[in-house]
């Protein structure tokens, strides 16, 4: 009985894994290449460039007509023997930096890349500062207490002497 249950559980687990294999690569069927190397380049390039219409997805993940056009265009350029750099120039001269899904490290994208780290640095400095100053306060308080205690005993002595 328990073995059967285990088997069921395993089957259900397999069922949940099904979507992982369901991700078929339709672009491979539509765009044929002679060599596997070009095929791989094509797949990589589709991940590199953004769909101008949908904006938050790469060409690979988009079925918008414009994305299809660009796929066809990249396919053509690869078949013509163009290098990755030439393809990038082709796309950038038409659609601008925007077409590159992962923004390039350039002057105008500096904030994008370094901003989060700068922010983290500022926050770290602030936190450290606060810690130091609050510790100093505690120490000051301790010193004050000691002084007070000393004075109290002195007062006591004075009173007792009287």
């Amino acid at each position: 009985m328990s073995e059967q249950k285990m088997a069921y559980k395993f089957l259900i687990f397999l069922l949940f894994l099904a979507p992982m294999v369901a991700q078929s690569d339709t672009s491979k069927e539509l765009y044929s290449f002679t060599g596997t190397e070009d095929q791989e380049r094509f797949s990589n390039l589709l991940e590199t460039y953004r769909c101008p219409k949908c904006q938050s997805s790469s060409l690979a993940g988009s079925n918008a007509p414009i994305a299809k056009d660009l796929k066809t265009e990249i396919h053509r350029l690869i078949k013509e023997g163009k290098s990755d750099k030439q393809i990038e120039d082709f796309l950038r001269s038409r659609y601008g930096d925007f077409i590159i899904y992962k923004p390039a490290f350039r002057m105008n994208t500096l904030v994008l890349w370094l901003g989060p780290f700068l922010l983290l640095l500022v926050i770290l400095i602030l936190v450290v500062n606060w810690n130091i100053s609050s510790k100093r306060k505690v120490k000051d308080l301790e010193a004050e207490n000691i002084v007070k205690a000393v004075e109290r005993t002195r007062l006591k002595k004075l009173l007792e002497e009287d």
């Binding site: 007509p65 414009i66 056009d69 950038r92 038409r94 659609y95 601008g96 925007f98 500022v122 602030l126």
Partner: protein, 172 residues
């Protein structure tokens, strides 16, 4: 000094909010065209009205507008009355770029609702559109007398857009 550091996070927060709000104003849909201030790309495509091949030299009456349109494009129908008005009231000529369309359908539509274009370029495969960085329709380009692209507008061309984006350049 201590007081200032205490308020720092708050000040950062305010700046952050201001920055975010200023980004809100920017029209995200308007990708800045890299073709601005560049020559209109070369092309050689048939006319919509006939099989005759047209090239950049046929866009002869500059400055002019190039309007990307198609029968499947709903928003193009919205701006159509304004284009008709421009044709009557403005000296600027309008050329059409019929984008990924069927010739019969396109001609029929122009027959029905009127043709604001001097002629339309029939770009069935979206070749010229790709060179122009078009990613939807309607789009409107302003080409100046030197054949340089000066304005690009993505979306419906309204009177407001015309005044603010196109007229200012034309009046220069």
């Amino acid at each position: 000094m201590n007081r200032v550091t205490h308020f720092l996070p708050f000040i950062f927060f305010i700046f952050f909010i201001i920055a975010l709000f200023s980004f809100l104003d920017k029209d995200e849909d308007q990708l800045r065209s890299v073709l601005l201030d560049k020559n209109f790309p070369d092309f050689s495509l048939p006319k919509l009205e006939s099989q005759e091949i047209v090239t950049g030299q046929d866009l002869s009456e500059l400055p002019s507008l190039l309007n990307v349109w198609a029968t499947w494009c709903i928003a193009c129908r919205v701006e159509h009355p304004f284009l008709m008005r421009l044709k009557e009231e403005s000296t600027v000529k309008i050329y059409g770029l019929n984008y990924k369309d069927q010739r019969e359908k396109a001609l029929k539509l122009l027959d029905q609702i009127g043709n604001p274009y001097e002629f339309s370029i029939f770009d069935q495969k979206g070749k010229l559109a790709l060179d122009l960085g078009v990613y939807g329709a309607p789009e409107t380009f302003l080409i100046d007398e030197k054949g340089v692209i000066r304005v690009r507008h993505v979306g419906v061309l309204t009177e407001d857009v015309w005044e603010k984006k196109f007229k200012v350049i034309l009046d220069e």
